[in-house]
Symmetry: C2
Subunit: 332 residues, 2 copies
């Protein structure tokens, strides 16, 4: 695999121009390009420029609205709803996360149901944004069925990522963002592209047999992480990010999708909680003592540690040459 | 292992009398005995009579208040706090879960922080109670450090169970209740008592080596389920059920515990959500379609299915003879 260096600003502009070129307006293009740039900045290639062809495909096919005008509504003072207007998720986030945060700061807890969006990015930007307001945050989305429930050989669950953020007074938030599949589909696609194998337990081939070949798993089915317990978490995400927010579960999302290569329509579930209120004002000593002890254990790395380290580097990023050429040629 | 049959009523009375005999008042004894009976009824022996000696030990030592008078307070209309008054958790639940449910029914979401309790039971009774009110519920507790974070060989996390319930219109709720340890401590203790081995990956011995001997794991450390992803879930539970509710993390809970064999003081985190409000009134078709498809897949069993099946049997339960003799002799 050959790569070429590209500055973060050029990554942003490349993504932005690809979206504008595919018919998105500036607000939508900026919001999407920002998540692409942030993913490359933090070293998450599977959510970076790698996704741009998919973003573009669904703008071009008309499945996703590049001029989405998401609207936020308070169903109660703490139950907020955002109608994503068939757009990509980032513009919905820009308009709703601060409203969710305000409600949690005042009331201790608030929840955001987003429907009619297309989510094609990492989940940590949402929960990190909320944690920077001093809030504990949980977010999840579902997708299309790629993952077999524990014991089964047929897909039902999406890769269904779940993310969590915990605020810290003098450090960036503690954040995890993980697929409830044993491996995220983006990482399997990249492994297939780069000719790498994946561990046993990642997925099954089309005949239902275990394999280490990512291209066979793409034709077959992924497995949930952690056996039946991870399968329970995947099931919970399916329900929270679908029916609970008024949206479809993964298999229905797929049935309604046009197969253009971009993400299906779906929902997103986000909770924000104010630890000052929930704890009675007595939480930092315990949580900082815990995180400090965890971070000092032999063999342990805090989640998001590598991402924060990557973020300190403001220099250019190495981008897959074929991908770069493909994206640049389309803009000529 | 020899067993003797005991009716559900006699199981309740045996547990109740053990609590009264150890100094609990009727309200506290009834609430505890009810969870013990329900566990035996549903086939969860590790949360049934097996726990009574531990319950009794902490009443006798004076660590747990058998005359607890928990008080519920609304910090905001949706952020409720219950001071457990150093009692066992079930009496706090009897006084607070219906208040939590009312707040979620009206506002879409509500959260309950319980502190100063001792939780020694399963978590499904709490979430099942809420789901029977038509609510989606999530609950968790921490414990004492028995589980090594992924990559480490020393304990930091409790077995930190997480439970979830989803309401169904014409069926009992979909519920899971699982330790974030690869196996719950109660099940490991029962395996050790009965001389059974446990799977590799359950835990490490005192020297940090993998073992299938549950008695060696009791001297060593448990592992989280599902590698680093399960470890993230365990970490989240540690923060939600400790600092977020104004309580201690597991390693501090242990430092403050008197080692009498009963559960340490800790907190509990419970969320309730009204799907009618969060979904805009449009959730049952999707969730029932999903659960129906899941339940029909080859190799899949819905969580709680076995528990609901056991519950239909109103006959006597088989109880370990040694345990029964031990409990009955103390009451003479």
């Amino acid at each position: 695999m050959t790569t070429k260096p590209l500055s973060l600003e050029d990554i942003f502009l490349l993504a932005r121009n690809a979206m504008l070129n595919a018919g998105a307006n500036e607000e939508n293009a900026d919001a999407i390009a920002d998540t692409v740039m942030q993913a490359e900045r933090d070293g998450s290639h599977s959510h970076g420029l790698f996704r741009v062809p998919g973003y573009v495909a669904s703008l071009v096919s008309g499945k996703v609205n590049g001029n989405a005008n998401p609207k936020i509504q308070s169903r109660t003072p703490v139950a907020l709803h955002c109608d994503g207007d068939h757009g990509y998720a980032p513009v919905a986030h820009r308009r709703s996360l601060h409203v969710l945060a305000d409600a949690a700061v005042d009331n201790g807890i608030s929840v955001l149901s987003i429907d009619r969006i297309h989510h094609f990015a990492a989940l940590w930007p949402e929960v990190e944004t909320l944690a920077k307001r001093g809030l504990v945050a949980i977010a999840c989305v579902s997708y299309t069925p790629n993952v077999a429930p524990f014991g089964a050989k047929q897909p039902l669950y999406g890769t269904n990522p779940l993310s969590f953020a915990w605020p810290r007074p003098d450090a960036p938030p503690l954040v995890f963002d993980m697929a409830t599949a044993a491996m995220a589909m983006g990482d399997i696609q990249i492994a297939a592209r780069d000719g790498r194998s994946v561990p046993i337990g990642t997925g099954l081939d089309a005949r239902g047999h275990a394999t280490t070949d990512p291209s066979e798993i793409i034709k077959g089915v992924l497995l949930p992480f952690g056996g039946y317990k991870g399968s329970h978490i995947a099931m919970m995400v399916e329900l929270l990010a679908g029916p609970l927010v008024g949206e479809t579960v993964s298999f229905v999302s797929k049935e309604r999708d046009n197969g253009d290569g971009g993400p299906p329509q779906g929902g997103q579930f986000v909770i924000a909680m104010n630890p000052e209120i929930l704890s009675g004002g007595n939480w930092i000593e315990q949580s900082e003592g815990f995180i400090s002890r965890l971070s000092k254990m032999d063999g342990v790395r805090l989640p998001a540690e590598r991402r924060y380290l990557n973020r300190k580097n403001t220099g250019p990023r190495q981008v897959n040459s074929d991908l770069l050429e493909q994206l640049q040629s389309k803009l000529k």
